[in-house]
Symmetry: C2
Amino acid sequence: MAHLVEISDPADPRLADYRDLRDVELRKSLEAEHGLFLAEGEKVVRRAVESGHPVRSLLMAPRWLDGLADVLDRTEAPCYVVSEDLAEEVTGFHVHRGALASLERRPLPSVDEVLAGARTVLVLEDVIDHTNVGAILRSGAALGVDAVLLAPRCADPLYRRAIKVAMGAVFQLPWTRLTEWYDALPDLSARGFTTVALTLAPDARPIEECVAGLDKVALVLGSEGHGLSQRWQQAADRRAIIPMSAGVDSLNVAASSAVACYVVARRS
Amino acid sequence: MAHLVEISDPADPRLADYRDLRDVELRKSLEAEHGLFLAEGEKVVRRAVESGHPVRSLLMAPRWLDGLADVLDRTEAPCYVVSEDLAEEVTGFHVHRGALASLERRPLPSVDEVLAGARTVLVLEDVIDHTNVGAILRSGAALGVDAVLLAPRCADPLYRRAIKVAMGAVFQLPWTRLTEWYDALPDLSARGFTTVALTLAPDARPIEECVAGLDKVALVLGSEGHGLSQRWQQAADRRAIIPMSAGVDSLNVAASSAVACYVVARRS
């Protein structure tokens, strides 16, 4: 079981993993360098620990110890017990849901492993907002997606904010990062997937029609601002659109992905 | 056309409408008291002004004047021209998309007006997060909803953040607030709508099946945390669920509403 360590000095070096959590750029380099990621909130901390990622440490105020007793039982890592004020001073924000954990990243699985047995795959090109990546993973997991592939520039699903919005779906849904961008879609076609790009291109057809009767489908979504790159739009086997009312710009990427996953997962 | 007024003193009382925009509680009372709302960003400011709400004033840095020349042409209101630093000092945040406008609220339309001719209506019970209200309005407008009714405790769609996330859909989609909560759904049934509550209740049926063949539908969504009240779940004509994968908690309300609007608008 975790050993409890009370800390009252905000400068204590053992708190290094938890510093300045709102400084996105600092955190990205710190977490990459140390191969760690942070989970926040009782439910997400539990799922992260249960997922088997080695635990570096936990951090919480005393009143959260009881509710997380089952989690503390599962690990030998230190649990730093601090006041809520100290937690806020170190992390830079008020930790609403009480607990934080720092965990080790593991090597990402290969594309082969992630695709094994998958029939419905989501491929994200350059979704750069952590909230959107989290929301898309949560919807994908709920709506029947089997695996997710991320293009090289897509935001990190293990970033604290993404994990939180995903409600831990990042530990449930197999995913990995593509190392290669240019031929990623032809590679999926060669593996037997029909790649279906969601786009506003004039030749796009309604998504229900595009996926009807298909066996293995890779649904391909682009970035928040500009959608898919020209290369990916052209490399996809089919171009699909969610039919929309006149005069509306578009759906945001999280809403589009929820609708598209629903339609694709229920294709007949 | 708007008259340009350069202001260099952050304490200038003419800037009162734009103070402390991140202080949600302060803003709620200030905006209610003065009957105003704020639009933020070039596109949203344009839509707000075009919607016909009387303009109290605009506020922008000099470099945004050209892009908004068409908007400035349409109004007699003052446009306060300030440095970006001063804008940040007054509002409390960096105004990314350049322009702000303060506009007058108008009396809300009656339920009768909003429902005239509507075949697909969205009813929100206690969605209290402005981002979610905005996202739901945007998806509703894109996916074929004709009108929106908000329960008394639902968040304000004219709050700056909601308008921004909705990308102005709040000016496009007819909406109003219900004054009565308890009998709101029976009242809709009496007007010829089949009320369909989205819920995780055990007797809920898949939403496609629930809405097949219906003419006028009111799709009813509940709050972020606890979903619909018992009263509304029981008062609805039908209870519907979006079928989900095992082991996933649920979709968030913005994703559920996008999927549900898509399904309901395409009912046959």
